[in-house]
């Protein structure tokens, strides 16, 4: 089964689906939604088959396919996935159908074409899959940039308040990073002997100065995309203005391209520079954890609050990557997955609340739990997952990151731990102000707030809750896939895990 061209089919399939959906008659929005949902479920089914046929302990890059594209420049359509990419692909495949289902009525309120909304979601899925599946730097860059276009229109056409401003800011920020990366991509191509093949490029020796510049070009693009402090200011605007479904994909998947890019491109291609810049990257990560958490505490808008929590989480992922231990690296990748699930869930639930209330401001809620107990419960659960409560999946990853970092860099681990306390503050306070306490009398007058989770919404949240609990207790299937890939990446950087210290034990026995 591993001969099947999984990755190219997975990349192309959503695009075909998008074309089908886009050309469905505008007067039949229901049909467009059903086709989009069905199509994304097909993609999910194929992804599951791919997951099953991935050989744990096999080659680092599997499902490799390569077709010539621009021979003059050494560009080819090369797809291949390692464990990290596989996990991200799976996350996309799971999230997109849920997002489609969750956005069932979102497009109708915007007066714009409903089929186009779902077509854009499928185009976005195509580019997201492509960016994780590419094993050719040029191809990666192409998907990295094209990804902006559907997201731009999703935010700009279907978003809420200040959508134009947010869409343009999102596009320009990402484009700035992308263009710096373009310069670095060309530079890499020149020093790499005119090839874009990822595997060939990892073998290239680059002079120290050049390597640092190229690293910076890539890192800047990824740091904006992720986003790390101080390049984060676009995310709260974009996340706040995007429709909830698109925001879930934006924060859940799109931003992971940044951290994935660092793992897949910065570290293996520029190992020396990665080590040289690691203290700076760690510092950015730490600042992000603390600063974004503090800002999150002070937010009055639900979607902006969730966006800021994500920036704090990306700080954790950054710390995990640049600690250069297998444990922390595995934790970071696992965090990418778990954050996608937990924050995706949080965004979707918050979206459900906002749709009912017609406002995203926290002060417009208050005591909502009395009206919609089930929805409030799910929000509470999503919040707990987001603050990494033991028993939920994010706990495993956060813990791995912290102990992996602690073995090599104690101060960083200690400061990062402060983030956990702040996370409790922003999540619990938000939950308290929206769903607990006395019922806001205005809230009770809103008819929609009396409707608890519908069947459709239950179907949306149930799989995510199940996955979060399951991976919280039994993350092994995922860590088994991630671990070899992370180990290989750490080998590329030339870092081995510190040997376990047994000194104290010996002292005690003497």
């Amino acid at each position: 089964m591993s001969d099947f061209p999984f990755l190219s089919v997975l990349t192309v399939a959503p695009l075909v689906g998008a074309l089908v959906v886009a050309f469905l008659p505008r007067r039949r929005p229901e049909l467009a939604k059903q086709v989009a949902l069905g199509w994304s479920l097909l993609v999910l089914a194929l992804s599951v088959v791919m997951w099953v046929s991935f050989q744990v302990g096999g080659d680092r890059l599997q499902f490799r396919e390569s077709y010539p594209w621009i021979p003059t420049w050494g560009v080819s359509f090369t797809f291949a996935a390692d464990g990290i990419a596989l996990v991200m692909l799976m996350l996309i495949a799971v999230l997109v159908p849920l997002v489609i289902l969750a956005s069932w009525h979102d497009a109708e309120s915007s007066k714009r074409s409903v089929p186009v909304y779902f077509a854009l979601l499928l185009v976005l899925e195509c580019t997201m899959i492509g960016v994780f599946a590419a094993a050719d730097v040029f191809l990666f860059y192409v998907f990295f940039e094209v990804m902006l276009v559907p997201m731009y229109f999703l935010i700009g056409s279907y978003g809420g308040h200040q959508r134009q401003y947010a869409a343009v800011k999102f596009f320009l920020y990402s484009l700035v990073g992308g263009l710096f990366m373009l310069a670095a991509v060309i530079g890499l191509w020149v020093v790499g002997g005119k090839t874009f093949d990822w595997q060939a490029l990892t073998q290239v020796d680059i002079s120290t100065g050049t390597e640092r510049w190229l690293f910076l070009g890539f890192f800047l693009a990824f740091a904006i995309k992720a986003p790390f402090f101080p390049f984060h200011t676009w995310l709260p605007d974009a996340g706040g203005a995007a429709p909830a479904g698109a925001a879930a994909l934006l924060v859940g998947v799109l931003d992971k391209v940044g951290t994935f890019g660092i793992l897949r491109y910065c570290l293996p291609l520029f190992p020396e520079a990665s080590k040289w810049f690691a203290p700076w990257a760690l510092a950015l990560g730490l600042i992000g954890i603390i600063y974004a958490a503090l800002l999150a505490v002070g937010q009055s808008d639900l979607k902006r609050l969730v966006s800021y929590t994500s920036i704090a989480h990306f700080g954790f992922i950054g710390v995990g990557i640049f600690a250069f231990t297998t444990q922390a690296g595995t934790g970071a990748v696992l965090y990418m997955l778990n954050h996608g699930l937990a924050t995706g869930l949080l965004f979707l639930v918050v979206g459900m609340l906002i749709t009912r209330r017609g406002s995203a401001l926290i002060k417009d809620f208050g005591g909502a739990g009395k009206l919609v107990p089930l929805l409030a419960g799910v929000l509470f659960f999503a919040g707990l997952a987001s603050l990494a409560l033991p028993g939920t999946a994010p706990f495993v990853s956060e813990f791995l990151v912290l102990i992996g970092t602690f073995t090599v860099n104690k101060p960083v681990a200690v400061i990062a731990t402060l983030g956990i306390i702040l996370a409790a503050a922003y999540v619990l306070w938000m939950v308290q102000r929206t769903t607990q306490g006395t019922l806001n009398p205005e809230l009770a007058t809103v008819e929609a707030m009396r409707r608890d989770l519908s069947l459709r919404e239950k179907v949306v949240v149930a799989p995510l809750i199940a996955l979060i609990v399951l991976l919280g207790f039994y993350p092994k299937p995922v860590t088994d896939v991630i671990n070899p890939a992370v180990q290989a990446t750490m080998q590329d950087v030339g870092k081995s895990d510190p040997a376990p210290e047994v000194g104290n034990v010996q002292e005690a026995s003497r």
Partner: protein
Amino acid sequence: MTELKLPSIDYAALSPILIMLGVALLGVLVEAFVPRRHRHLTQLSLALVAVLGALVMVVFNADERLVTIGGAIAVDGPTLFLQGAILVLAAMALLLIGERSVERGGAFVAQAAVTAESADDRRQAEGSNGTTEVYPLTTFAIGGMLIFVAANDLLTMFIALEVFSLPLYLLCALARRRRLLSQEAAMKYFLLGAYASAFFLFGVALVYGFTAGMPNRTAGVDLATVHAAVKDSPASPVLLFAGMALLAIGLLFKAAAAPFHVWTPDVYQGAPTPVTAFMAACTKVAAFGALLRVFHVAFADAAWDFTPILGAVAVLTMLVGAVLAVTQTDIKRLLAYSSIANAGYLLVGVLAPTGEGVAGTMFYLAAYGFSVLAAFAVVTLVRDADGEATHLSRWAGLGRRSPFYAGVFTFILLAFAGIPLTSGFMSKFAVFGPALENGQAWLVVAGVLTSMVLAFPYLRVVVMMWLSEPGDATPTVTVPGGLTATALMIGVVATLVLGVLPAPLLDLATDAATFVR
């Protein structure tokens, strides 16, 4: 008395040029002898047949590599590639020029001599058919461009420059609407153009002086002699540098590079839009073709001397184009500044002293030509009762009124912004790659930085069209006639195809990237 030896002439190799100039003369006769009501059709078909015929001959000559008529014309890879590009783009421009269903009587004035805004003028604006002299003028211009990119000596190049410039000056003045603006544009273009030509000619004279006094060689302005002189002329290098600078000014003027760009926005805005499209696509190809030949053939060995200066010009051009594009409120002026910035990116390609640099520049020229023609084709369609609605505020909400054309225009703007899967991205890569390979990282960094700035005005138009609500003033898009629709579709499809599958054209450009001397 020395015996006059006639140079040998390879008529087959020259046939594209001969066809264009011959048909242009024929077009003048048509004006004289064919009845008025048949002229439009006759002229348009004549011009199109000529362009296609010349294109066939270019393809037929594809493997020719020779210098003919006494070294005046070089037929080599770059010549043929660029001639092919000019002809294809010119055919599209002719389709736009020939369109008469979007505006009654076409985009051109019926009698240019009538005083603008007089009673007579208002009468002719009512819908009398536009003048048909535009076709021979365009054909002459195309012929001149074909010579310009093939000219192997500086004097021939100068003559070609005049042959294609003079018709363009006239064409600029022939707009049916806003005639004062159009005439002002023509006047500016003519005066500044004449200046630039004088600079060029003076440069030729200085270079001629520089080539004098070499052992075993007579002085001359053919590129081979100049090339030899750069190596071992005993004359003062001041002559060379001054001559080179003056030649560059003449050429950079046509290429719309800063600081010789000031005419561009006014002329692009004032000229009839089909003519603007023709200039933006074909003049650019011709000007950069000549720049490539002059700096890669004649002055190749002086690269150390001109690269820093031209590099500075390139950076300045990109900066001026990008920064000033941000402040524009008129779509034609915005596209003009975008065209200036693109001249900067093209210069980056010209400055890469390798075959890849030449190939990249040629690919860029062709790709940009298609996109810019399509862009102006859309501009001709967005109109209200007073003609084209070029003010940006009028484009608000166009995406709701006419999603198809707004979508097409968005796609072209994304191409200009260099988003992948459009030809714009591939072109940027094609010129930045060779530049970086030759250690010109500063040009690439400047290119990347200005691309960011330039993305903003494009994005603003996209926001205008899609994210703003249509107002009462939002015009509708006129359903285009067959001619405009064809040109538009060719441009858009080429932009997409060159973005997704650039390999064939890129290989063609790479194979064609060697000059003969």
